[in-house]
């Protein structure tokens, strides 16, 4: 019982105090705010510890499954190798860790992301069909924006202005609607957490 009640009380007190603090520019309130910020940073850094534990547990479990064991073994071996070279020899410029990061992880991550271009080209070729009014409208808009983001598009008189208009008017209007919705959702969820109505963060 206390396992659930104590966190709820802490969240309620901290939430209410920090909300009030925002409107009080007194030195005592400011120093409380600074202390809270230091705590906030400390708690945030613990997220990395949880991530590491979760990663090791997940892949250790998969080692027992024959169809996944190879990939999990590679992931764990890479993790252990980077830990050993990082903690053992440092992470400064010129170290093995630094070189491995720049010459292995960076190209691998960039390549994986770049592969998207090939999938997008193939998908656009097969799926972008003028099947109706909405599809035609979408296709024309996509063509203008795609032209607008090329260097060549800059030299066709109306394309840059039309692209800018599409992004700054219809796109902006839809994005703003979504943002207002998200903002209201964030406020209501925050209030529900502070008041103890929303308790999913306690683990169901």
């Amino acid at each position: 019982m206390l396992q659930r009640r104590i966190p709820l009380v802490i969240v309620f007190i901290t939430g209410v105090l920090m909300s009030i603090q925002y409107f009080i520019p007194h030195p005592v309130s400011q120093s409380a705010y600074n202390i809270a910020l230091t705590w906030f940073r400390g708690v945030s850094s613990m997220a990395y510890a949880i991530a590491v534990i979760s990663f090791v547990r997940h892949h250790s479990r998969r080692l027992k499954q024959p169809q996944n064991s190879f990939y999990s073994a590679v992931a764990l071996a890479a993790f252990l190798f980077m830990c050993i070279v990082g903690f053992g020899f440092g992470i400064e410029e010129g170290t093995v860790f630094y070189k491995m990061y720049l010459n292995v992880q960076v190209p691998l991550q960039a390549t994986t992301f770049s592969l998207l271009a090939f999938y997008m080209a193939s998908a656009a070729y097969r799926a972008f069909r003028v099947k109706g009014f909405e599809a035609t409208l979408l296709l024309i808009t996509a063509f203008i924006v795609m032209f607008g983001v090329t260097t060549i598009g800059n030299y066709i008189p109306f394309i840059p202005k039309l692209t800018e208009w599409l992004m700054a008017v219809p796109n902006l209007a839809s994005k703003r609607g979504i943002l207002i919705g998200v903002g209201l959702g964030m406020i209501s969820t925050s209030l529900k957490i502070i008041l103890g109505i929303e308790r999913n963060w306690l683990g169901g």
């Binding site: 910020l37 940073r41 720049l102 069909r129 296709l139 260097t151």
Partner: protein, 284 residues
Amino acid sequence: MRKFLIKLSKIERRYIYLTLFLALTLPLIFPPNFPQKMSPTVKSVFEFIDTLPPGSHVLLSADYDASVLPEVDPMYRAVLKHCILRGVVPIGMTLYPQGAVLALDAFKEAEEYLGARRDTDYVFLGYQAGFQAVILGIGENIKNVFPKDYFGTPIDSIPAMRGVNNYKDIALVISFSGSSVPVTWVIYAYSKYHQKVAAAVTAVSAADFYPYIQTGQFVGMLAGMKGAAEYEYAVRKIMKDEGIEKLPPAKAVKGMDANSIGHLLIMLFIIIGNLGYFASKRRK
């Protein structure tokens, strides 16, 4: 003709991949060097930095990792060089642990090509955990968040950091990112401390940030490879005008050439696909 179009619309995926591969790699090997024209959102950031008095400070937050490196990293390098060329002190930092090494490499490049000196012409603070806490903490006192720089030098003993305590002493914050981190800077640095903020983001996420430009919450925005190429092109022009003979590689301009041809090819694919679709529809 109709049969040919239908056949073309059913072309195997591997040929599409091969054509796109050639369209992207050939311009990188033989760059056509298309001239760049600055778009309004890029121009706003460029002019803001260009008109800052020498000795001003600009915070460059490398909030990205290697997955968005080809687009965002050239932006970081170009803006950093622009600051140094104008005598503005760039303060490098990151909210992403992977960003520290990438940003440090950009500072090393500025040392090599512009003779920038650490702690005098630039400061590199490195990484600190806790997104919102870091942004809010800088608003109170930057020394509380970063007591030492990336190399372990206490902030108080860095000449370029003299008189820099919080956002009041920083002219602009630019968040380089492939995610929604620039919005976090708006929420916490702009709203609470009225700090001027700009964004340098990937093309795919740029559409999300237009509302913040319209409201003036962002000074401007560098969007995708195009934004990077436009900024890089302008900075290289300044370097040439200043008589700097050894120029760094024009990664973004080259990349934009490939990107443009890739886009045109995708558009061509869509047209061919639709012609085949209509041809097969008529036959039915």
